[in-house]
Symmetry: C2
Subunit: 507 residues, 2 copies
């Protein structure tokens, strides 16, 4: 190994964060390992190491870089490599040539401390505190930050099954084919290729007939709800009924847009349309294919009632089709949008098909809200990023998406079975709901206790679950919402066993 | 080539959109080219072809798929390939096995028409109409849709120089290293890796010292302005002064958040701080490093006045640092944020460094607005997509970003020079502003005419430019804002020659 300890007269000894992977700074020296440099890119490498040293004050402003001849000799590289590296620093404005005085660090950069300032998402609350109060807007950030051995929170598919190789192949192919203009500012509705692919996907999988021009690409269902909430508010709609129980997150998004969210109860046939009709609200948010969190499927009779409600009252149905593609023991349920295009605002995403981290979803709005939604998207962020849209379009059009869904279905079914078995063993008094489809199931208990206490006791034992009461606006039976898709059968069994232990000895 | 014409009794003859790349449907047949199928993936391919045929009604609901034996024989593949393909359709819910009756198409998907419905961005206005009225919210969509031979609109770097291979390499490395949890829901502030890389980038290039925990990743400066506008409105601030001339797009974003945007004039030293002080506004949006569109650099005296204004009035400066890294003939200008962290909300992005289509930017807010901004981002979209953030982080930390900037600077300088030369030749009466840095320059004319007419005349001749008056709230000298970074020197010369011709003979 050829290495170098460079001594500088003016090294800042007070810098509390001197470490770096490539340059180790002790009290007064820098250590460069030229062996770390890629062959053919040594000047780049050296310039970058020096930039890092400038960033974190190992090379303070005003200090002189070693003479090129000296550094080249000690690193055993040609002098041109060092001269070129210094030239790049000068071009970047990090250094200046001072003739006989050599090359001087002139920029005034500063080192970001190695340890970030704690913020809500960074500082985990103790389990009791996390579940003690009503869940605030940042509850899901706090949940994510809470340390746990086994994570059974719902809403995530098997992320280990994400098709990384196929995604990279599709990306290579997109990068090879994309025009330069495709990297510029674009149509805020999304790329034509992805809108076309989604129209075909929805036709094949959700029985929806839609023109690609009517599809708006968004950053997931969360953004769909935010944009729509904004548009509805501008249109004079200040109330959107929600299912009870129903997604806490969705309710929070609507409320942030200053919308009231009165509760409409859900039973085994789905939302109680008779109650909805009596509340005289102009709009309702529904999960008809697989109600969150109960898993109920909207029955045929209720669908007909709902269609009557929408047409007679000019009512708006926001259809959150969040995991309709995942089903195990029952036939597919067509989307409401397929029969009521003028009254349904349909929202879907790849969060449950591929990964939430992709932040890609779509909205099909009734004609009267369509232009306002596009304008809202334009003002929000000028449209989704282009590359991931193009990659997803290839993914969908090539049949990869159906292949992925088939692959997930097998894995998810096994995990679902493991969870149902474990519940039978460790939580024999729990009633299981909604296990025929989706990524989670819900259990309820007939006894009286606070499910937040149970969730806190589980978290104290290293198992993360959501209490059912978080998703209920009115008093409900205690219960838990348990995601199985993202955990291995072994973790699921152990997690449910831990829940059983927590239930028997809560503290 | 082995191909097959399958005849079906029930093919829908009324389908008006029968064409597809892989299956050619004539009046009553489908044509499958098994040679198009990848070796080893024939079942997938066949299933996908049949799905496409179901999507667009070439295989209508109720029709029977050919017997597996027959289809296998005609395609000269093993019967297992066909059986497997049918099985996949059955699993997807597109088909059902009917015992002796064979396999029947059961889903009811629909074909999206091949030609999308025209929408604002799709239907170009004639040049005269485009420039005749005051620019609406969708003016940049309409500009993009307007056909032109040469596009000199500002705001885009040399997109042909986007480092596709390096980006793909970084993506491969990210996909290889990312944990499964990294594909789930995440911190709405952005990934720790990117926030760390940006802190280092800002330290090296903008003399900004910031803790990564204080950085919020957003979908570009457009989203930064939208989120900040929302937060300011909630904090009781309903007015944000803007530079005049100043970016029309930025003004539109603030106004959409119900903020007033009074104009403060700009001269050769940058914004007139004396006028700002007299307007008694609580906040101002500035482009201090390279004023848009004039290119003025905020002078030292004005900087000191501005710092006094901010500290004495508890004023907020929104610093849009949109293209500060691109400079040719002058030293770098440190960001205002580097000296006034408590009074500056700093926004930057990769739109001018790599590509607008990436939709990645960052905001550094003063402490009192930081939590509200994170909440606004959470409600907007739950945070940026993870993969592009991680790729960008690698890109920045490896020195690729500095390399790209150096590469761009060489190319952009040549283009800038070509434009200045062409203006000297073809528009000798024009005064050039702001050519020492950035991606565009501005020209003004001392004569009296409507610059919108000139822009319309140029567009009618196939050259797209922005009239200076779009970016002015008060009457101003006529002028044009001309982007040079995204066009070749040849196109630039031809484009400017066309402007000269349009100026001499406007109609």
């Amino acid at each position: 190994m050829r290495s170098l300890c460079c001594h500088y007269g003016s090294v800042n000894r007070s810098n509390p964060h001197p470490s770096d992977q490539s340059i180790v700074s002790g009290s007064d020296f820098l250590q460069l390992n030229i062996d770390d440099a890629p062959t053919g890119g040594r000047s780049d490498w050296l310039a970058q190491q020096l930039r890092l040293a400038i960033s974190d004050h190992r090379l303070p402003v005003g200090s002189r870089l070693p003479a090129t001849r000296v550094l080249a000799g000690e690193l055993r590289v040609s002098r041109g490599v060092v001269t070129e590296a210094y030239q790049r620093l000068i071009e970047d404005g990090h250094a200046a040539g001072r003739g006989r005085n050599g090359t001087i660090v002139v920029a005034a950069p500063a080192a970001p401390p190695a340890v970030p300032r704690p913020a809500p998402g960074d500082s985990p609350l103790p389990p009791s505190a996390l579940f003690a109060a009503a869940p605030g807007a940042d509850i899901f950030d706090r949940m994510r930050a809470a340390p746990a051995r086994i994570d059974l929170t719902p809403g995530v598919p098997d992320l280990a099954a994400f098709p990384r190789a196929a995604w990279l192949r599709a990306e290579r192919s997109v990068l090879g084919a994309l025009s330069a203009a495709g990297l510029g500012y674009a149509d805020p509705r999304g790329t034509p290729e992805l809108r076309h692919a989604i129209a075909n996907w929805l036709a094949r999988n959700r029985a929806i007939r839609v023109d690609p021009g009517e599809i708006l690409i968004v950053a997931g269902t969360a953004q769909a709800l935010s944009l729509l909430g904004h548009v509805l508010h501008d249109a004079g709609i200040s109330t959107v009924a929600v299912e009870d129980p129903g997604s806490l997150g969705a309710r929070q998004h609507l409320r942030n847009q200053r919308l009231d969210t009165p509760a409409v109860p859900v039973d085994s046939q789905g939302v109680r349309v008779d109650v909805l009709a009596r509340t005289a609200v102009p709009a309702v948010l529904l999960t008809p294919a697989h109600q969150f969190p109960t898993g109920a499927v909207l029955s045929g009779a209720r669908r007909r009632e709902l269609m009557r409600w929408a047409t007679e009252n000019d009512g708006l149905i926001i259809e959150d089709d969040y995991d309709a593609e995942h089903r195990y023991d029952r036939p597919p349920v067509p989307a409401l949008r397929s029969v009521l295009p003028d009254h349904v605002c349909y929202a879907g995403s790849v969060s449950k098909l591929l990964a939430p981290a992709l932040r890609i979803g779509w909205v099909l709005a009734p004609p009267k809200y369509r232009d306002a939604l596009v304008a809202a998207k334009r003002f929000a962020d000028l449209g989704n990023a282009a590359l991931p849209q193009q990659v997803l379009a290839r993914f969908m059009e090539s049949g990869q998406m159906e292949r992925q869904l088939r692959h997930l279905r097998t894995r998810h079914r096994r995990r679902r079975d493991a969870m149902v078995d474990a519940i039978g063993t460790h939580l024999p008094d729990a009633v299981v709901h909604g296990a025929a489809a989706g990524l989670h199931l819900t259990i309820t208990f007939d006894s009286e206790f606070a499910d937040t206490d149970l969730a806190a006791a589980a978290l104290a034992r290293g198992v993360k679950v959501q209490p059912l009461s978080w998703h209920s606006q009115r008093p409900s039976r205690p219960g838990l919402v348990l995601g199985y898709a993202a955990s291995t059968p072994t973790d699921i069994s152990e997690g449910v066993a831990t829940l059983g232990a927590a239930l028997r000895r809560p503290s």
